[in-house]
Structure formats: C-alpha cells, structure tokens
C-alpha cells in the first residue's frame, strides 16, 4: 500500500530492568544503528507484563513492521499475538525465551540459551567443588517466570544424582541484589553455619547473597561456595576475588546473531527452528581472560 524504501524492524522487549536486559537491548539497538540505512528500528517495552507485550505486538503490526524480534515475557500467553503476526505475514524471531507456538509457523526461529542446561551446569560444578556433599540455599528468580522455573529444574536434575546434596532453603529474591541480600540475611539467621553452598538464579542475587554472608561473618568462597548464572562483569570480578565460585554464561548479546539470522531469512535461506547459544562457564580458571569483555 505504502511505498517502502526501508524495511522496519520491530523489537518487543519484555522489560528493561537489570544489567542483563539492558545489555540485551543495547546489543540489538547497536546492531540496528549500524544498519540505519537499510532498516528502521522500533522498540517497545512491555514493563514485565504479558498483556502489555501482546498490545505492543499488536501495535507493531498496526505500524506495519516487516519483522518482529520478540523477547517474550514468558512461555504462555503470547500465542494469540504470534497468530496475529502470522495473519499479517510478519516473521517473528524469538529471543532468549521461548513462547508457546509452532516453529516455522508462529515464529521463524528461537535464538537463545538453554536455561535448563545452565542450571544443570551450576549444579554439576557445585557437586564437584563440594565432593557431592552440601547444604544448599537456592535463591530463585521472579516467581512465575519461565527462566526461574527452568533454572530450578536443571539444577535439581543435576544434584539428584548426589544423595548428600540437599537444598535446605529455597526463597525467591526477584532477580534483585537488594532482595537477595535481605532474604539471605534471614536464611542465615535461621540456618546459621549449616549452610555450605548457595545457588542463585542470576549473578545479581549471588552478589547480594555474598554481601549478606560477609556481614554475617561467613567467608563466601571458603565457608560457603556460591554459584550462579549470567556471567556479568561484577560476577567475574567476584570470581577473581574468590568470593563467587562459578557463573555460567547466559549471553545477552543477541544483536549480531538475530540480525544475521534475519538477513539470511530474507535472503531466502532455510533457518533452523532452534539456534542455541553455546554458553561458556566462568570460574577461577578463566574469569580473568573474559572480565574485560563482560557487560
């Protein structure tokens, strides 16, 4: 209908809170900026709500974008939005989290990490570091988020094989450092020196837990080993200081990959329905080498 010189890329982000999300947003924005000549870029922020994200996608469709990058709020709840995009013949690329729908039909491809695997790898690392014997405190992510659910599942799968590894407390801390510090202080009051390990669903919470451990006079890294996920800069620094044991990467920098995939798609190439990132594992052996490039 209207004359188009440039293609429009619409990106529906779920929220922009915390270093990880911001790194993700920035990476996609940067790639879009590099292609300013060929693509217009629009971004929406769902403020952590599926209903708003649905509305955002509808708005993008109304705006007649040519492609949608979608970082879904969670697995359920966006299928109708994907259907609407399909009806409008707009290809969708899912980023970092999956959404219910048929690949190839509702969306072109899913690009992201394997959250279950991330949890599993932390579990295995902790098992090794503690010789299969630990009393673990688990700090979980935002209640109800699929990431939290998967990372909890993977971790449990891993430690199930070690009868002496027990989760003695599991509490939510909302992916936030402040909340984690608070919750951990309370758990320390309840469990005291029984605690020998902490598993946090992201680095922010691990850093909060480390603060709490320190102010309770316990030595993170020695009395209590801590493992988490994300691989952000502050976490790698903590690994170098010896306070954090391990951080499994969950790379937020999707920009290059998703734009490249999209261009391949428009070029008519066949795109695999799942593109799983290879997440690295940072511990004391390699943290120094990567700390500079971390976000």
């Amino acid at each position: 209908v209207r004359e188009k010189t440039k293609k429009i890329v619409g990106f529906s982000q779920t929220e922009n809170i915390g270093p990880w999300r911001i790194a993700e947003t920035n990476s996609i924005k940067e790639e879009a900026a590099k292609r300013k000549k060929t693509y217009d870029f629009l971004m929406t922020d769902a403020q952590g709500q599926t209903s708003k994200q649905f509305a955002d996608i509808e708005d993008l469709i109304a705006r007649q974008v040519d492609v949608i990058f979608l970082a879904p709020r969670e697995y359920e709840g966006l299928t109708p939005a994907l259907e609407a995009a399909r009806a409008a013949k707009i290809p969708v690329f899912l980023i970092d989290r999956e959404a219910a729908g048929r690949p190839g039909q509702h969306f072109v491809s899913f690009l992201g990490s394997d959250f279950i695997a991330q949890g599993r790898r932390v579990g295995e690392w902790l098992a090794q570091a503690s010789d299969g014997k630990a009393s673990i405190v688990e700090l979980t992510g935002t209640a109800g988020s699929s990431v939290a659910i998967d990372r909890a599942k993977g971790f449990r799968d891993a430690i199930a094989r070690y009868p002496n590894m027990k989760i003695v407390a599991t509490q939510t801390a909302d992916f936030s450092r402040a909340a984690a510090q608070r919750v951990m202080e309370n758990i320390i009051q309840a469990k005291g020196s029984d605690i020998t390990a902490v598993y946090a669903h992201n680095d922010e919470m691990a850093l909060g837990a480390i603060q709490a451990l320190k102010s309770a006079g316990m030595k993170p890294g020695k009395d209590v080993i801590v493992g988490s996920i994300d691989g952000q800069k502050a976490a790698l620094e903590a690994i170098i200081r010896g306070e954090l044991g391990v951080s499994v990467e969950s790379n937020p920098r999707f920009g290059k990959l998703v734009f490249a995939t999209m261009e391949e798609y428009f070029a008519g190439k066949k795109i695999p329905t799942r593109i799983i990132l290879k997440d690295r594992l940072f511990d004391v052996t390699n943290a120094k080498d990567f700390v500079d490039e971390a976000y």
Partner: protein, 315 residues
Amino acid sequence: MAATKSLAKFLTSQGLLLILFSLAVFASFRYETFLTPLNLMNIMRQNSMLAIVALGMTVVILSGGIDLSVGALVALGGVVAAMLAGQGSFVAIVGGIASTTLLGVVNGLLVSRARLQPFVVTLFTASAARGLALSITEERSIAVPSAASGLVWLGRGFIGFIPVPVLIVALLYFATWFMLHRSRLGLHTFAIGNNEEASRLMGVNPNRVKLLVYTFSGLLSGLAGVVLAGRLGAGQPVAAFGWETDAIAATVMGGTFLAGGQGSVFPTLAGVILLGMMYNLLNLEGTITPWWQLVLRGGFLLLVVLFQQRIVQRN
C-alpha cells in the same frame, strides 16, 4: 444552580475529551498508521480489560471507598478460569468470576461490617489474592486449552466486526450508568460517598451498599481476568500488576472525586482510552528509551490532573 452543576460536569468530561481529541489529531498527523481501523480497534481492544476494572473502581470510589485489590483479582480470576478450562468454558468463566466475587465480598464485609479503612483492607487482600494466585498455580502460567472455545471467544472473538471484549465494555458501561443514575442503589451509592453519616440517619443502609459495591468490583475484576485469560490464551498469576493505579488514574482523570459522591462512568472510559492512547503513541513512536517513557507518562498524567482539577475548582 442545577444548571451550573451539570455544566460543570459536562465541562469536566469535555476537558478530558478535549485532551483526547487534540492528542488524536496530533497523532494522526505524525503517524500515518494511527488512524487506520486496525490501530483504532487495537486501542479499544487492548484496553477493554482495564476499562472493565476501572468501571468497578469508579463505582467503589463514588461510594467513598477505594479498591486496591483489583489487579490481583484480575490475576486470580484469570488463573482460576484457566485451571478450570478443562471442564469446559462455562465452568471456567463462572469459576473465575466466582472466586474474585467471593474476595470482593470479603472486602465488602471488612469495610462495612468491621468498619476498616478500605485503603488498608484492599491493600492486604490484594497481596493475599496475589499470593493465592501464585500458590495454586505453583507460580506458573496456565495455558487455556483450545477446547475451551467459549473462553477464547470471550477474549478474542468478534460479533460482526466488533470485538467481543469491546462489546462487553459497552454493555457494562451502559448498564452501570443506568444503575447509578436511575436506580435507588445508584442514588444510595452517591449518597454514602458524599456523606455517609447523613445517609445513614436518613435511612440508607451504608453497609449493604458498600458490600454490594465491593462485590461488584470483585466481580468485574474477575470478568476482566477471564477475558484477559481468553485473550492471551493463558491464565497468569503475575498478570495485571499495577492495574489498580491505572484504574484510579483513569477514574480521576474522568473527573470523579476521589473523596466520593461525585462523578460518572463514561468519563472514566475516556480516561482509560487516554491512558491506552499514551502507550499506543509511545509504541508508534518506537524510539523513546523506556526511562524517558516513564518521565513522559508521569509528566503527562500530572498535567492532565492539573488541567482537570483546575476546571473542577473553577466551577
């Protein structure tokens, strides 16, 4: 006297319409896709759930109360409906609405019989309802099976070219308007919102009215939750965070007195649409960083409130 009052009323609603209209004109020049039927329908459809919730909020505020539990009740209603969807749409819809209506009754009893302050009561029933929604779902979203076609229709269906949620909103607003301005119950709602003690002495039963009003708000929240679940194809325990504040904002932008006793429902609808249009425009613009969006929204809201209250004060 009566004439100036109704003129005041008209002007307050018109003040909001004025803002709405100028914003729409601005948008239609700036975004070529704004005035497309699709976009306009989107705005209506996306905001129908909030509109339902805001309707309940308006009635509660008119009665001199406030209901902070609406957001949590939307979530609860949605997950209950989704969990029951296997038993068929009818059970799901009724179950979802019944659960929140029950909590609305609890709100009503605590506010009327126990004479507790509505702000506090509903603040804590909100957190209880949210906790309940999270607990019964084990914090997961519950998918609505496609077999529950009635539920899905409620959220996504059409009658003719009109989306079902929009139709529900229209019906509810007309019915509520009629109840408020034509029925005894409506008059009593206004009366206790204006002066509860006087109404009591004159023979109104404030407890009964309050109970009904909070129950109504609970019921509407549940309905909004059910519609939302149908629309998203899932019931989510974390849905509708902060809707209570949006609903309050819409009500007040519509010129309803927060202290109660004065106001109407259709201006609230205009308020909801204004809020929704704000989001829509931010999306159509698409390049404003999220934090600046907050600044714009907060600032704009402040201006509307300022404008609105100036008009009210002048009259």
